[in-house]
């Protein structure tokens, strides 16, 4: 079903491709809805209170009610903003998040684009979101927004470096940037979390910072910067930025399962009868739960400590990881 890209072009093929993309968008949106619901529930339970539990049975319709509220709000575009940039910024922030999902292999047979440079595609696209955020901050014509935007760009750019470097260890062990081959290499050997534990930890921390989530959520610090770079956005444009963050959680968590936790691989031989997609989903949920758990636990990093941590701690550690992996590979 997925070698449709290698067939000659026809209008039917194009229609099928568009429908599949729409279906994936639908699945991602359902994921976002319930990720928001479960985040509120998990954080509530960790704070010894119930999360949302009134709207619908057990509060399941809460996100739908919130999204509906955001969609029917008045679309306020302040008078002195840079109109074109203001309108385009959420779109630039969101599109790479969705485009990344195309290269991730969800199971043996379910994958959308078998790109030989899948990892590079991922790293490149996730940098475009930073541009969207900067535009959102700049175009808002507001001091708080531009400060938030600058802080966010500085943070995301500096944590992007250890993020990419933590991939390098995995690439060295596999010899390829193709995500499917990385999973296949893990199926034969051990899951890469074991030899690359340092890389995994660095990815967890740097990924958290890339997503602008607590403890690195200075740019959107609700009580410090009055929502930072999206202070002037209301209604569905704000919903777009929120959507970007949660779709990125999806993309980042699925990349982590593919690279370090073995993708669709079952942990033990006797559990092979459970389909691969279920294993992918379970590992993915574990990582998403970890992100929520961290949000409930840690306080925010201080402004002066934030950049120092990236440049003076994470990057040397990531470099050390790469060098040790290279050393290991040449000696054995």
């Amino acid at each position: 079903m997925f070698n449709i890209l290698s067939e000659p072009f026809s209008w039917i093929n194009l229609l099928v491709i568009i429908l599949v993309a729409a279906a994936v968008l639908g699945i991602v949106l359902v994921f976002v809805m319930y990720a928001i619901y479960f985040e509120r529930k998990v954080i509530g339970w960790m704070q010894v209170r119930n999360g949302p539990n009134r709207v619908g049975p057990w509060g399941l319709m809460q996100t739908m009610a919130d999204v509906f509220k955001l969609l029917i709000k008045e679309d306020i575009v302040p008078a002195k903003v840079d109109k074109f940039l203001f309108l385009i910024a959420p779109i630039i922030a969101y599109t790479p998040a969705f485009a990344i999902i195309a290269v991730i292999p969800y199971s043996q047979k379910i994958y959308f684009a078998d790109v030989n440079v899948g990892l590079l595609y991922y790293g490149a696209l996730s940098s475009i979101t930073i541009t969207g955020i900067l535009l959102g901050g700049w175009a808002s014509n507001n001091k708080y927004a531009i400060m938030g935007g600058m802080r966010s760009v500085a943070q995301m750019v500096s944590y992007e470096v250890p993020l990419i470097m933590s991939f390098l260890g995995v690439v060295l062990l596999t010899g390829s940037l193709n995500l499917r081959e990385i999973v296949q290499a893990q199926q034969e050997g051990m899951w890469f979390i074991v030899p690359q534990f340092l890389g995994f930890v660095i990815f967890l921390i740097a990924g958290n910072a890339e997503l602008n989530r607590t403890p690195f959520d200075l740019p959107e610090a609700e009580n410090e910067l009055v929502a930072g770079y999206f202070v002037e956005y209301s209604g569905f444009r704000f919903a777009f930025f929120m959507l970007t963050e949660y779709v990125y959680i999806f993309a980042m968590a699925s990349l982590m399962t593919v690279m370090f936790l073995g993708g669709w691989d079952a942990p033990f031989e006797f559990l092979e009868f459970i389909p691969g997609i279920v294993w992918f989903f379970l590992k993915f949920l574990l990582l998403v739960f970890y992100l929520f758990w961290v949000r409930a636990t840690f306080p925010r990093v201080r402004t002066d400590q934030l950049m120092g941590f990236a440049w003076k701690v994470l990057i040397p550690l990531a470099l050390l990881n790469v060098m040790l992996t290279a050393l290991f590979k040449t000696l054995f």
Binding site: V42, V48, R49, W293
Partner: protein, 140 residues
């Protein structure tokens, strides 16, 4: 070891997942108010002697009453004809119950009185007489 605090924090929040929740589930479980809680009033028309003290002492002037001569020609004094509490003004301060010599106006523990229309906030004699659940025991 550097970083030990991180794991302590994470294990603490994980343990908190199974603790019983401390929020009170209000609409599903009723709130039990203390014994002397000052809610909306209850009126005993047979005890009222129309002395007008509650009207005089009310700080917001929400009580208004009209008395009539005792229908029984033998007895002296007045009996109560109409008694209105304008609940938009009442601050539930309890002064009317303290000053009443016969304890005919007392308070109850009922506080769930939100309505959709202001018409329901003019409490008259009938309503106050019928509001006889959870009446406060001590009134002075």
């Amino acid at each position: 070891m550097w970083g030990k605090g991180f794991f302590k924090g994470l294990s603490f929040t994980l343990k908190m997942l199974k603790e019983p929740k401390i929020t009170s589930q209000y609409p599903d479980e009723p709130i039990i108010m203390p014994e002397r809680y000052r809610g909306i009033h209850h009126f005993y028309p047979e005890k009222c002697i129309v002395c007008n003290q509650c009207v005089r002492v009310c700080p917001t002037g929400c009580i208004s009453l009209v008395g009539k001569p005792n229908p029984d020609p033998e007895k002296k004094g007045k009996v109560i004809d109409t008694y209105d509490i304008n609940f938009e003004l009442c601050i539930l301060c309890d002064l009317c119950t303290e000053v009443c010599p016969t304890e005919s106006i007392v308070m109850t523990n009922n506080f769930e009185l939100a309505t959709y229309s202001r018409d329901n906030l003019a409490k008259d004699l009938k309503w106050l007489e019928n509001n006889n659940t959870k009446v406060r025991e001590e009134n002075h």
